[in-house]
Amino acid sequence: MRRTHRAGVLLLLPAVAVVLAILVLPVLQTLLLSVARNTTSVLQAFDFAGLANYERLFMTPRFRTAIANTLVFAGVTVPLELVFGIVLALLLNRNLPGRWLVRMAILLPWALPTALNALMWRWMFNTEFGLFNALLQGAGLIEQRINWIGGIPIAMASMMAVSVWKTSSFVALLLLAGLQAIPREVYEAAEVDGANAWSRFWTITLPLLRPAILVALLLRTMDALRAFELPFNLTDGGPLTSTETLSLYAYRVIFQYVNFNLGAAAMVVQFAIIMVVALLYIVTLRRDPYA
């Protein structure tokens, strides 16, 4: 096997080199930048600042707002996406008419660029000429046109709606694979035993779907915690900073206020939150009796 060994490592080399250069080393440098002062590259200059950047960060109300915004955004959107995702996956798993069209409907929101999707929604949310106000007023549901992305907390709610629309179908796709892995016989046996559709869902589908649900939750939570282009293009983080996420805040500190070290600290905090959430999910998944 000696020859195989060497060939295996050789074939792996280009990928590992790229991942090291583009992902691993930059993240390590972000860590170092966060404990340094007045430097954009730790190879160039490294003046150890201890935890000074972190102290300053946590004393900044805007940063604490960004943390709260990010957690609220993920905490509301991910469970909603899961519910819609399960419903959609159950639908997809049936012999629906117009199968191609339904699958296209599932794939389309995933395939659209998040940044441009945010623009499309900003146009529909437009107060003066937007689709939503036109439809609601046409239906006689509102008197005054609503400023969907110009108020607190309605801007955050609008942003959440866009995110749920964009990603529920991705959750459905992930769950569909899990659904299709459940053997038909299990359902047939339950039906013979007289279980109705509702109890079949709670006693068979949901428990057997648990691993797929956890994977979907993991991927979606991590993604929601790093939301960037959605607030960038939909609300610009506003009004005030009521929709500014951690990613957007960190980006602005680095590239608008040109403070690499403070921005790096904000990114490390974000990274830590993501890691904690990921670990929680993975521990839960490990403990799964069905996995």
Binding site: H5, G8, V9, L11, L12, P14, A15, V16, I22, L23, P26, Q29, T30, T40, S41, L88, R94, L96, P97, R103, M104, A105, I106, L107, L108, P109, A111, P113, A115, L116, N117, L119, W121, W123, M124, E128, F129, N133, A134, Q137, L173, L174, L176, Y187, E191, A212, V215, A216, L219, M222, R226, F228, E229, Y251, F260, G263, A264, M267, F271, I274
Partner: protein, 280 residues
């Protein structure tokens, strides 16, 4: 789920569900397209004009006449996404093959490490990538954006590819090895042909992800000539407010490729997305 002969009532209900799903999913794109075919006066009108009348290509012609940079952004996206896809399939194909089919110590660790680094938030890469590419004189080049995207999506691609490679029976490879074929020869003449569907699926997903990527393209290609479609359209300046007449037309052009790819290769893409996730 057991399928019985659907009664008329059931069939009507199912069609209603399909209609709602399709409407909810399609309406933003449909509204965008309708907007792009309206004269500007009808775009900025209250009560809202729902149907373009007259139906006009004026907004598209304006892009060609006055805002040709928007077409350049779309061309940039093609170059970046194509190069990224090629690089990822080459490096990722070899790596996934090595990680799933060749026996050596530590490959399990590498595979798990790939999953872990796929979780890195792209924003956390930006300070180093910006500073690094600036020092190398590569800021605002295709090279920087392509390398960034390749690194960003390579781990995900390796996971999707690995799940496809695992479905190829090991016996084929062992037989060839006994016949004296080299590792590269086995990869080239046995694995590659058998894994074509997996490569197509992975390539499509990577292409779409690179086409859609925003933060790296924003920071590494911020000069006007290097903007990709999502970045260029988002940063498009308006005199007083965002010019939705031009923007709607440009956005239609910029989302058209991913919509067409999804429509034509629906099956591959769904297969690839579910294969990668269900194995992890």
């Amino acid at each position: 789920m057991p399928e019985r002969r659907a009664s008329l009532r059931d069939r009507v209900a199912l069609w209603a569900i399909v209609a709602v799903t399709v409407t909810v999913s399609f309406f933003p794109v449909v509204w965008l397209a309708l907007t792009s075919f309206k004269p500007a006066a009808d775009i900025y009108a209250w009560p809202v004009v729902f149907w373009p009348s007259p139906f006009t290509l004026e907004n598209y012609l304006t892009i060609i006449r006055e805002s040709r940079e928007l077409l350049r952004y779309i061309a940039n996206s093609f170059i970046v996404a194509t190069a990224t896809t090629a690089l990822i399939l080459a490096a990722g194909g070899l790596a996934a093959y090595s990680l799933t089919r060749l026996a050596y110590r530590g490959r399990g660790v590498v595979l798990i490490a790939m999953l872990a680094v796929a979780m890195f938030p792209p924003i956390a890469l930006l300070p180093s990538l910006f500073d690094g590419f600036l020092r190398l004189g590569l800021l605002n080049t295709y090279t920087a954006i392509v390398l960034g995207h390749t690194g960003l999506y390579l781990p995900t691609a390796i996971w999707i590819l690995a799940s496809f490679y695992r479905t190829i029976p090991m016996e084929l490879e062992e037989a060839a090895r006994i016949d004296g074929a080299s590792t590269l020869r086995i990869f080239w003449s046995i694995i590659l042909p058998l894994s074509t569907p997996g490569l197509i699926a992975t390539g499509l997903i990577v292409f779409i992800m690179s086409w859609n990527e925003f933060p790296l393209a924003l920071v590494l290609g911020s000069s006007d000539a290097m903007r990709t479609a999502p970045v260029g359209i988002s940063l498009f300046p308006g005199e007083f407010s965002f010019p939705w007449d031009i923007i709607s037309a440009a956005t239609v052009l910029a989302v058209l490729p991913v919509v067409i790819l999804s429509a034509v290769f629906q099956h591959f893409i769904i297969g690839g997305l579910t294969a990668g996730a269900s194995k992890s």
